[in-house]
């Protein structure tokens, strides 16, 4: 027995020592000190995780490039109405800010997909002005954009050209340049949009003050006074429309720029793939990454494509390659599972918000919101209501012509209808901001509507 014990002891000791050696090898050869095989990238990764772990009470966010506090860490950047070092204090009298179309409602999705949506960019990443094939555009990214449209079924891209821009914003003006009169002796091209329309169409066209085009206002009003026979026109068709979410068709039947920023399943049923000559999309309203500044145009005609590309080249020699790398990462996540995880998350959020909104407004005669009509959606394969990014609210009382003032008195900030060329009795309320923002908006709207049935009414 004694000999057996000694033998077992020896075997155990030997085995244990071998395991020690293997662990040691793993520690020093496998990981360079950090474990897991990382070396130069570990510091940046650790920094990102440390910043992500900073608690802002769920009411704000810290970022790797944020202002640094006295402890040497980025500060919490609080959501609207929240303050304090950790964003835990709410200002009770703060206004519900529903002005901007800031798509933060999608932030939780990306936090749930942290691993696959992160990207580490090296110090020497893509220093050159040019890619190998297309000088200013990532081929891989273009492939994924086509894949995205194919998965969602919202646009024909086969046989079409694609151009990237800094948000759809840049592509809107690039498109106007590309479609406007190229002949210097011709009168300027008339640029039109149907009220209510996204104010940037007018803003850009007027600002750039080109000899080649001029903004002529509302399409329907213009049509009453002019004929397209002798005149060169370019019509913006925004579908779904901003601010009211309606699917639109052209009025004139001539050259069009289709602004499809919101033509995604979380905002509207997708009845069929869009098949127009020039269609503009933006990442901001697809994945929520408005800060990345990335959009694209899908173009049928080669000459138009070349003119749009030329615009981008002349304006700024193409968009940031860092951004293109990041967008590629994000789209790889977005197309997973045929897009269902992303769009189900997003649509469920929008649908819930519209359910609650509709419920509040159903109790009101003072205010109304846009009617929504059910339509078959190819993506979700069901008939469903639209769930637009904005509520287009109307003050119904004759004496209440300034709806912005009415809602301001109820401690709600929206965007005045006149910004969109409509009357002041309309106001746009954003439904795509953070959950905090939406909850506060619902609270204020509920209070405001409840006053309609109360004895004391405020203006």
């Amino acid at each position: 027995m004694g000999k057996t014990n000694k033998y077992c002891f020896a075997i155990c000791l030997l085995t244990s020592i071998v395991i020690n050696i293997l662990f040691t090898i793993n520690l020093y050869v496998g990981g360079g000190g950090g474990g897991g095989g990382l070396s130069w990238s570990e510091k940046a990764a650790a920094e990102a995780e440390a910043v992500a772990a900073i608690s802002c009470s769920g009411h704000g966010r810290a970022y790797v490039d944020g202002s640094i506090n006295s402890e040497g860490r980025p500060v919490c950047e609080c959501y609207n109405c929240y303050t304090g070092i950790d964003c835990s204090q709410i200002s009770p009298t703060c206004a519900a800010d529903a002005d901007s179309g800031d798509p933060i409602f999608l932030e939780p999705f990306w936090m749930q997909h942290a691993t696959n949506s992160a990207i580490l960019i090296s110090g020497w990443h893509r220093m050159s002005y040019r890619y190998e094939d297309n000088p200013f555009m990532s081929t891989e990214l273009e492939n994924y954009i086509r894949k995205m449209h194919s998965v969602v079924g919202n646009a024909i891209t086969e046989g079409r050209y694609i151009v990237f821009g800094i948000g759809s914003s840049q592509l809107l003006s690039a498109s106007v340049y590309a479609l406007s009169s190229q002949n210097s002796s011709s009168p300027p091209t008339n640029v039109l949009a149907s009220i209510p329309f996204y104010p940037m169409y007018r803003g850009q066209t007027v600002f750039f003050n080109s000899e080649s085009f001029q903004f002529e206002g509302d399409t329907n009003a213009w049509r009453l006074n002019n004929s397209t026979n002798d005149m060169d026109v370019v019509e913006f068709v925004t579908s779904p429309n901003n601010p009211d979410g309606e699917l639109k068709k052209p009025v004139l039947g001539g050259k069009t720029i289709y602004d499809h920023a919101y033509f995604w399943p979380h905002f509207t049923p997708i009845p069929a793939p869009s098949d127009h000559d020039l269609m503009v999309f933006t990442l901001s309203k697809l994945t929520g990454h408005a800060g990345a500044r990335f959009g694209w145009a899908v173009i049928k005609d080669k000459d138009v494509y070349e003119r749009v590309s030329k615009y981008i080249e002349v304006a700024d020699l193409g968009i940031s390659k860092d951004t293109q790398s990041r967008v590629l990462k994000l789209l790889k996540v977005a197309v997973e599972g045929d897009g269902k995880p992303l769009f189900e998350f997003a649509y469920n959020k929008m649908r819930d918000r519209w359910d609650r909104l509709t419920s509040v407004f159903s109790k009101s005669t003072r205010f109304s919101i846009q009617h929504r009509h059910p339509l078959h959606c190819n993506f979700f394969n069901q008939t469903r209501l639209p769930s637009p990014a904005y509520a287009w609210v109307k003050c119904e009382r004759e004496e209440e012509e300034d709806c912005t003032a009415v809602l301001q008195a109820g401690n709600i900030i929206g965007r005045n209808g006149n910004v969109f060329g409509a009357k002041d009795r309309y106001i746009r309320l954003s439904l795509i901001k953070s959950q905090d923002d939406f909850e506060l908006l619902m609270q204020r709207l509920t209070e405001l509507v409840s006053l309609e049935n109360g004895s004391i009414e405020t203006m």
Copy 2:
């Protein structure tokens, strides 16, 4: 003795087992499977390191967003004249391409600073359109730009406004808009630049075809025929100049846009901080990150600043926040050691290249390059020669009017002088590309110059 042996055995076994337990704890608790405390960021970091480790024989680079080969890995993107899966094969008859100002000569610096220059961007990083304070610009980044100028001593920024743009490219046209006539009834502002000048000044001004300004060509020629008394002018002053590297002053004494893209110690002595009303800089020529598309303007006048900011807002709602985060990381490395590591690296490279270039051209009567005059440099605290980004080569033989053709016959590609408004007997050769590119350029130039003394001369 037997008892002592048993005792030692027992202690050794116990110690070994305890060590194994500690290793096991470290493996599973310390790292979540990977070690080093990382979780969601590890995959992205590992991916970046794996791609960086792909061997392209030193004659190319693989990137995380590159095209994917059959093994599922990004392909090597080879430098000019190199081919093959790992870029190891050189095409012996390939032309030396010295056309573009692609600043790849700085790539090795960033590879040496891999740890500190990497950035990991989370999937939810800065989704909003706006920052907390300035809507479109990172305050931290603005601070580092001011710090950079302070460290180098090449521009006064105190009391000045800063605006970011997509490369200096975008800020050049933004500046023209901002400085041009704001009165629609006034004649268009005359935009001028001194030959030889960077073609984008003309290209943009003509392309945007605004009613507010027009490009009127060479400043000196214009001055002979016009008076500034009654006319509104804006003059581009490029210092150092592109293509010839000269430090320039304005000709007219009116409104100016100073293009200081190359006003850094690796290209020119810094005699004093520049102190002009509107100065434009670009990251491309400071750190070499042309692909990031980042530039900035330093502006004295508040109205001008607001107009330039307005342009950026109207054009594209500000530049990518991903890019701004990355640039901040890069500038933090660039200002380390008061900028000495970066600028010594860069200046040594440029000086060596100029030494070799001068040596080759000293043997030639057929070709000449620009004269360089020593000047005191505040940054390096010495009198030194400029080391411009480009050689401005002239074909001296009367019959050789087309220098581009002459060099093409010597298997060298450059940029024709006429692109800069100069004669065809000038050609610009880029000296800031990769070491491979420069070596090939030197080889071809040496061959070409050696022919001058040979018996058989080719055209």
